[in-house]
């Protein structure tokens, strides 16, 4: 059936386009989900191999030391030591085959590989399952408290309409209606939060309710409820558990070095033993999950402090450093390989998976509303809007649109007048501290003041009392000049309290940080965002163009901007040029990881042999 060619606009409006029904779109996306899940599992395996290679020797070391200690008190049967020798022999065969290409028969090679890889793998899986169980009941409540969510106001017409629309969409989907919570922020965004369809809540910002028409709001809510019904919450939860497991490994390996890691570990244990029944348990879970998810970032504060040569020297510290040196290598190897693999291998796979789920939710939303135009125009409106939700970074992959930078430029920092005030307050505090210097005629500029401030803040966080005093003096000086500006600066005592785990302090800090991102003017401290989308170089939200194109195929009348061909060509050429460098860099990193793994193994073995000899020597005495 050939139609005469007509101009594209008429064709678009009157003749049927090649459409894809939303059922087909859903089927396609569900199949893609399976394929991507396999990819993610493969990525996890790839990431797991070097990790297991590093962790397993550590496990053996711990076991051996424990055995030695027990042996001191009651000698273990000789069969145990024979078994240990066998295991070690197999391990050596495998390592030698790898490094020096010494021939080995396949069977002992297989056993050797198992010996080297299995304990670490089993430990990781057990930890991941543990994370799943641990945080199943936590999560939702605490996070909402941090975001200052509230119930909808039944006497306000728009909020009543919102609650009604959620009920309508839940009926259309055949699900129990999730509770709706509102947050009052300048950003317009919405998310579905929770761990299961019974537990789910829909979080909507008041600005979104104001900006969108009823049809568009319906589309957005249909997307969120459809994603709940499709089981996306469970997927997101499992994904978060993966990153938390990595964080837990890092925390455990850090604990000999840093008090912060030890405290975090203690909090996790305490929460695990009975925290979900604790008062404020849900908030505690959210805080712990947040800390763990951040753990994958390269954070060397603890180690720096430990090996700080300018600090107090003592014989005890030197001995401790010497003894723990091999673990330092293991620590570095684990962190480096975790960071690299989660950024380049696991992260992108998970982002692709989340994107496919988002397309699926879009198609399901069309099924629920039978109105693709609503969702399409809502997405377009949101793309031009400010979508920052302060404090929501931990769940950025759950929101319907990515959390962009605020369009109103609120996060760009203090304006010139405020800079002057800040610099003046800082100078004043400096003068009160160093009473020997006379009041300096020239005030330091804002840039220098900011540098000094950051350094002093860091010192205060490590417990320097003088730095703490300086911060307090600066704050009171600022209060004298401009009280509203001072209210936006966090109280130094709160900073210290937050480090120690004071929940009230953390809540206060979060509130201030929320104000800063929303409309404050103090330079917000670098908030390393956690959550799935920060741990990879691919965003977990598909671009607006792609979503609109798919909605268009399902029947929306979205106006797509013409593809920028020039940009594509430039980008293609650029990536062709950069490709060899990127490949070289990746190869170097892999080599570095391999070297560190081997070094950690070597150090560990030598160290272990030394300790074992020491124990047997003392045992025979």
């Amino acid at each position: 059936m050939s139609e005469p060619k007509q101009s594209p606009s008429i064709e678009q409006r009157f003749l049927p386009r090649d459409r894809e029904s939303f059922f087909d779109a859903q089927r396609r996306n569900r199949r893609a989900t399976w394929k991507l899940s396999v990819l993610c599992v493969l990525a996890a395996v790839v990431m797991g191999i070097p990790l297991a290679l590093i962790v397993t020797p550590l496990l053996y070391a711990v076991t051996l030391i424990a055995a030695d200690v027990i042996n001191l008190f009651s000698p273990l049967p000789s069969s145990f030591w024979q078994q240990a020798n066998e295991v070690a022999r197999f391990g050596f065969v495998a390592v030698q085959w790898l490094l020096e290409h010494q021939p080995a028969d396949p069977q002992s090679l297989a056993i050797g590989a198992t010996v080297m890889l299995l304990p670490g793998t089993v430990l990781s899986i057990v930890l991941w399952l543990g994370m799943n169980i641990l945080f199943r009941h936590g999560g939702v409540g605490g996070a909402l408290l941090a975001l200052k969510a509230r119930e909808p106001n039944q006497s306000d017409l728009k909020e009543l309409q919102l609650a009604d629309t959620v009920q309508e969409m839940a009926i259309a989907a055949g699900l129990p209606a999730p509770r709706v919570m509102l947050i009052d922020t300048p950003g317009a965004n919405a998310a579905a939060i929770g761990t299961s369809p019974e537990d789910a809540r829909v979080l909507v910002s008041r600005r979104l309710v104001d900006d969108l028409s009823r049809d568009e709001l319906e589309g957005v809510l249909a997307h969120l409820i459809a994603s709940v019904g499709n089981g996306d919450l469970r997927i997101a939860f499992r994904v978060a558990a993966i990153f938390e497991t990595c964080g837990l490994l890092v925390t455990v390996i850090n604990s000999p070095f840093g008090s912060l890691s030890r405290r975090t570990l203690w909090r996790i244990i305490r929460y695990g033993l009975g925290g979900s029944r604790m008062e404020g348990g849900a908030q505690e879970a959210a805080v712990v999950a947040d800390i763990l998810s951040r753990g994958v970032a390269l954070d060397t504060d603890d180690i720096d402090r430990m090996f700080d040569t300018t600090g107090k020297k003592s014989l005890f510290r030197s001995i401790r450093n010497f003894i723990l040196f091999p673990i330092f290598f293991t620590n570095a190897a684990i962190k480096l390989s975790l960071w690299f693999f989660s950024l380049a291998v696991l992260g992108p796979s998970i982002s692709l998976l989340l994107r496919t789920r988002r397309y699926l939710a879009d198609a399901s939303a069309v099924q629920l509303t039978r109105n693709p135009d609503g969702l399409a125009s809502a997405l377009q409106k949101l793309s031009e809007d400010d979508t920052v939700i302060p404090g929501g970074n931990w769940a950025s992959h759950l929101f319907i649109v990515s959390l962009g930078r605020g369009k109103s430029g609120n996060s760009s920092g203090p304006n010139p007048r405020q800079q002057e005030l800040l610099a003046k307050a800082w100078a004043a505090s400096g003068n009160t501290m160093q009473s020997s210097d006379a009041s300096q005629a020239s005030e330091p500029g804002f840039a220098t003041a900011l540098r000094e401030f950051t350094a002093v803040q860091r010192a205060a966080l490590s417990g320097d009392a003088q730095a703490l005093e300086r911060l307090r003096a600066a704050r009171s000086a600022l209060e004298g000049l401009d009280p509203s500006l001072a209210a936006q600066m966090p109280d130094p005592a709160d900073l210290l309290g937050a480090r120690h785990g004071d929940r009230a302090a953390i809540a206060r800090l979060r509130a201030i940080h929320g104000q800063q991102s929303a409309g404050g003017s103090l330079p917000a401290e670098e908030d390393p965002s956690s959550g799935a989308s920060s741990n990879s170089f691919l965003d977990s939200h598909p671009s607006l163009r792609r979503r609109l194109k798919r909605l268009d195929r399902m029947g929306a009348h979205a106006e797509l901007a013409a593809a920028d061909r020039k940009m594509w060509i430039v980008a293609a050429i650029f990536s062709l040029i950069m490709a060899p460098f990127v490949i070289a860099a990746v190869a170097l990193l892999l080599l570095l990881i391999a070297v560190m793994t081997m070094a950690s193994l070597t150090f560990l073995v030598v160290w272990l042999a030394f300790i074992h000899k020491a124990f047997t020597f003392f045992g025979h005495r």
């Binding site: 006497s155 017409l157 009543l160 309409q161 009604d164 629309t165 009920q167 309508e168 969409m169 009926i171 259309a172 989907a173 055949g174 099924q367 629920l368 039978r370």
Partner: protein
């Protein structure tokens, strides 16, 4: 172990039996969901019945010239509630008449701008609109489930024995002719 034809036949028979049982369970589960979806429509219809008296009372003072419209609504509601146990066709007929009467009423209420200032009326109207939406979505969900159920029954190989096991095609909820009449707005 020698593999004799009888053994293969027995194993195949067992596998077939297991498959038939699982298909039967799937069909039963689907049928129950269809019934549940139908019951959901009932819930929303009842909600509408409960909301109407409040709304009529709230606007009676303001819309004294529209007594016939209000009477039509109240009467249609009484009829719908009376037909609670009747057949599906009768019930969808009277509910459609009620939808028509309500549509008339809401269209006419637009002529009274002073109603917009009365908060209780605005909220009640919103609830009524939402209830109409809910009925529509409940019907849509019911139709979607019926589609899945019918497809499940008619695809090969289930179609071979679905009729034998007592499953039948279910009718979808279609618009009655009363619903399709244009809304009469008396000017």
């Amino acid at each position: 172990m020698r593999i004799s034809p009888e053994l293969i036949g027995i194993v195949a028979g067992v596998i077939l039996l297991i498959w038939v049982i699982s298909a039967f369970n799937a069909l039963v589960a689907m049928r129950t969901r269809v019934q549940n979806a139908w019951a959901q429509i009932d819930v929303q219809l009842k909600r509408r019945h409960d909301l109407i008296p409040n709304l009529v009372e709230a606007v009676r003072g303001y819309m004294q010239h529209e007594r016939s419209t209000l009477e039509a609504v109240t009467q249609a509601r009484a009829q719908a509630m009376a037909a609670a146990g009747a057949s599906v066709q009768k019930r969808s007929a009277v509910e459609s008449i009620l939808s028509g009467a309500l549509g008339n009423f809401l269209a006419i209420a637009e002529k009274y701008p002073q109603l917009r200032a009365v908060e209780s009326v605005v909220l009640l109207q919103e609830q009524l609109t939402s209830t109409e939406n809910r009925i529509a979505y409940a019907r849509q969900f019911y139709n979607d489930e019926v589609m899945k159920y019918n497809t499940m029954q008619s695809t090969f190989p289930r179609n071979l024995f679905a009729g034998l096991l007592g499953f039948s095609q279910t009718a979808m909820f279609t618009l009655q002719d009363a619903d399709r009449q244009n809304v009469q707005v008396k000017v």
